[in-house]
Amino acid sequence: MGKVKIKKKETRIDMTAMSDVTVLLLTFFMLTSTFLQKEPVTVITPPSVSEEKVPDANLVSILVSQEGKVFLEVLGSKDSTMKSETVRADLLKNMVAEYKKTHPSANLAFTNKEIETFAKLNAFGVPIRNMKEWLNLEPDQRDKWLEGKDNPGIPINMNEDPNNPNEFQMWIRAAYNSLNPELQEAMVKGRGIAIKADQATPYSVVNVVMDNLQTMKMNKFTLMTALKTEEE
């Protein structure tokens, strides 16, 4: 008697192909990704039809929180000649020199280690008096302090006297005078300065920043926006 043979089905699926696909995807994401930089305040930039991309090198971005606190982020060039770290280290040294012009008696000096710490930071925004103390904090404490309510950000006010600059103007001047000629050129052309502010920020707050830049004769700059598609 012929037996009906039930075909045994293999329940295991071959995962090799699946693995191939995932590795491919993984490679893609690893190569194309630029990591989100940690920022002291989260802002939602207003929408605009402008399609110009934010430059990813030679840029001073001015981050304005909703309450009007100001933070700075400085990027050097893309190649290794003027890395962000080099530019930032130089920026801090310039800032000290700049600050001493108007405050000759100020006791302001940073050790090499402090400068090194500063160079590695993406964003900063504390009064220069507190800078030393802030740089010596532990990394997580440092972030907390930067985001904290007690931190006033970089001191800024309505100042139209270029000979008596406020701290914000000194920082911008210091960035302009830093070692990197590409950054200087970008700042003159207006591509090197970007204001990043939240869409709900009152204009009076943004105006203070713009006015400060105007005082320094940096009339050209960019505003960071998010892409909006315009239906036609």
Partner: protein, 232 residues
């Protein structure tokens, strides 16, 4: 009969189970997907006038017939933030009619609501601007038609660049009647509104515009207009 001793070799399964590998890869992909920024922010380039005091004679006065002044106003909430969905827009052509304002209390200023209720910030002023920049807009529209039909070149990139160049020439063509838009914002206006008005300049092909500070006459006219509207 001797029984042939079979040396039984154990058969190894050469297939490796890839499931854990796939699991791990998926996890990594998820991580990279969440940590990356695929969309870069856009920028909007602006140029402000200098802050220096310019002699009255040296000021190149904008032709009265071409000037349009737009004033952006907003509302602050309890947190001191300006809602991007609510706002008012005031505009007038040419110079403010100060004499008429002093004698009759009427001005040439008009008011439009500018917010979510009227379908976003955009339709409110687009008509006004397009009306004033009719000649340029019509020419650009014609040009766009040609661009869509790929009339300049068969090559897409080349077609684009020729179109951009021609459009720029039209925007800056001084033989056409072009408006000069002066944008002013009250301290309460939200940053998003200012950006959206700047955006309108691009959309409506206006090449001459500037951001200025609000003055006493402007605020006087605004208060007057608000008072008149309340009476109605």
């Amino acid at each position: 009969m001797a029984i042939k001793q079979k040396s039984r070799q154990k058969k190894f399964d050469t297939r490796i189970d890839f499931t854990p590998m796939v699991d791990m890869n998926m996890l990594l992909i998820t991580f990279f997907m969440l940590c990356t920024t695929m969309i870069k922010s856009q920028t909007l380039q602006i140029a402000l006038p200098t802050n220096e005091k310019v002699e009255k004679e040296q000021q190149n006065k904008v032709k009265q017939s071409e000037a349009v002044t737009i004033i952006i106003d907003g509302k602050l909430d309890d947190k001191g933030l300006s809602d991007p969905n609510e706002g008012m827009l005031y505009y007038y052509d040419g110079m403010p009619e100060t004499d008429k304002l002093a004698t009759t209390g009427e001005s040439n200023m008009k008011q439009i609501e500018f917010g979510a209720k009227t379908g976003g910030a955009y339709p409110a002023i687009r008509e006004i601007l397009q009306e004033r920049n009719k000649e340029v807009c019509l020419k650009i529209a014609d040009l766009k038609k040609e661009w869509k039909e790929m009339k300049f070149s068969k090559d897409e990139e080349k077609n684009d660049s020729i179109y951009q160049e021609k459009a720029k020439a039209i925007r800056n063509d001084s033989t056409l009647k072009r408006p000069v838009v002066i944008i002013k914002a009250t301290p309460n206006a939200s940053y998003a509104h200012v950006v959206s008005v700047l955006d309108e300049m691009q959309i409506n092909n206006i090449s001459r515009y500037q951001i200025d500070r609000i003055n006493e006459v402007d605020s006087a006219m605004m208060i007057l207009l608000q008072g008149q509207n309340l009476k109605k």
